[in-house]
Symmetry: C2
Subunit: 155 residues, 2 copies
């Protein structure tokens, strides 16, 4: 299996990341169909700048043989309890559909787990839409427990 | 019903916030029994400083007649999709046990929803331990949908 490499996203990755986030069964309520005419909308560059400027956010791309095959975002959330418990949160974990079942998705999440451990997080959390049973099995295999209900409210 | 007032937490609120977070059925895996001897541990002040210094974090206390009766933390998470979708996340939502069933808990969460709306969040999310059926009914009444599984992994 070709090794994955990971790096923070750059402006020229925006279109690729958006296509990954909007593809196939990864689509959730926050990712309606992507209009390809909007990929160079300046708001995307502004949004990436905001993420990059925040030391508690990392928008990551995973590359295999020079090609981006996956993306995820890590958010570090500082807290008060337990002498300042910090948690890591994963959002928008997406892998290209032709790369599923290869172990690359697991390698991506394991990489993110290591970054959270390095950052001193006590635990790592994520939510996954209840219809995505395949994703739930995937996270369970990686040691995650679905101990919580994930509530959302559109504003 | 006496009106609640809300403000950001200050150093002299730390012990009260910790007692609220560790009380009764609010206790989760991240809040083991609180050792009262540790309430003035300097790590708590450092943790509060970290939260206050981060413009994407707000640790809030709710007061009624001058007394703190509840607390919650709002985290604003910047994102890329949908032209820079921002979400609000609630953590450590706790109300003093003698104040339950008074509507004050709902008022606290509604206040937090308004802050997320003001901040331009597209939605607000939270996770709640599966054993806390009362909390699930509470969030459902406020319009939240438990559309997601909430996964956690201790590091």
């Amino acid at each position: 299996m070709t090794q994955l490499t990971f790096r923070d996203a750059r402006p020229d990755d925006i279109a690729t990341i958006l296509r990954l986030c909007h593809a196939g069964d990864a689509r959730g309520p926050d990712t309606p169909p992507l209009d390809p005419q909007t990929l160079d909308d300046p708001r995307y560059l502004a949004a990436l700048d905001t993420i990059v400027a925040d030391p508690n956010q990392r928008l990551i791309v995973a590359q295999r043989a020079g090609e981006i095959i996956g993306t995820l975002q890590i958010s570090f959330i500082p807290g008060l309890v337990n002498f300042g418990l910090k948690r890591g949160m994963l959002e928008n974990v997406h892998i290209r559909s032709d790369q599923r079942g290869t172990g690359h998705g697991a390698a991506m999440v394991q990489w993110a787990i290591e970054r959270c451990r390095e950052a001193g997080c006590t635990y790592i959390q994520l939510t996954s839409n209840k219809i995505r049973k395949d994703a739930h099995r995937f996270y369970a295999r990686l040691g995650f427990s679905n101990s919580h209900e994930g509530f959302k409210l559109a504003l």
